[in-house]
Symmetry: C2
Subunit: 176 residues, 2 copies
């Protein structure tokens, strides 16, 4: 989204078990206005899947793996960025999104099942999307949608090879 | 949510490959105000996972498997319910949610990769959450949040054995 740099840091990813969910996290981030995803694990499969989508569907979303999360978070904060950690234990989204929205550089930490306790202290905001167990994918989607106030739903993806022509029924696409 | 009956129909589920994603679909539906999920496949694992969460975290969300989707959709419509199909090929969420919101009985079809073409014709609304590829989990989350206008984020789950006490940092829970 113009004027805001929102990036995802995915931690706790286990290469076999989490590949599909982490790919969904990355594609959700891309579709809903984030600039890219850093993966704190080694998984070329995720990087390639997301690069394939970006190549075909446009925009310049990036995905990097092998990121050292602790050093990365510290550097992000040192450069003036804010850190949001999505966790069911945090403060509820509607209660904190107004405080987060004015920030221009936002790192969103999306954990898999096991998140080091240190993350809670490093984050400027621990944010819950309801205090119920569901999915990091839906939490990220709602966080981004509330952050961008829905404007990201009409996002633009320049350089696409293909785009969908919205239809009442059926599938219509246009090759560019 | 009071006054509205929203249920999910999950189709195209393949028991080995999709168990985790379908469970995330069900838990997202539960956390965000739907009443239950019908699964058009045989998968006791999904049913049990969701029942475990409901037993511990409260509310009366249900999950049934072995549902015949064609007969189920026809019956839903015959009884006056409306059918929404989430698909990237549909009309964009912000353009149609205002037409859908007045309905009281809403069936939301959430497909996995392969969805029979017939579904597009059976649906009253084919709805896209952006025309970009991402995740059926994030699509469902945004659909429910826009349908309920965010009120579901403060949802109540009576009969819980455990609940989270929202915290700025750390994990606090309360056993009931």
């Amino acid at each position: 989204m113009p004027g805001k740099e929102v990036v995802i840091l995915r931690i706790g990813h286990r290469p076999e078990r989490d590949q599909r969910v982490t790919t969904h996290v990355g594609l959700t981030a891309r579709a809903l206005g984030a600039k890219g995803m850093y993966l704190a694990a080694s998984d070329k499969g995720v990087v390639e899947s997301i690069a394939d989508v970006t190549g075909r569907w446009g925009g310049d979303f990036f995905c990097e793996h092998n990121v050292k999360w602790r050093a990365f978070i510290r550097e992000w904060k040192a450069l003036g960025g804010v850190v949001v950690h999505l966790t069911m234990y945090g403060l509820n989204l509607p209660d904190v999104i107004g405080d987060i929205r004015p920030h221009d550089r936002i790192l969103v930490i999306v954990g898999a099942e096991k998140v080091p306790g240190e993350i809670y202290g490093l984050a400027d905001y621990n944010v819950a999307v309801t205090g119920q167990p569901h999915s990091e994918i839906s939490s990220l989607a709602l966080f981004l949608d509330h952050l961008f106030s829905g404007t990201e739903l009409a996002g633009d993806f320049p350089g696409a090879q293909i785009r969908i022509i919205p239809s009442r029924a059926g599938k219509r696409t246009e090759e560019m």
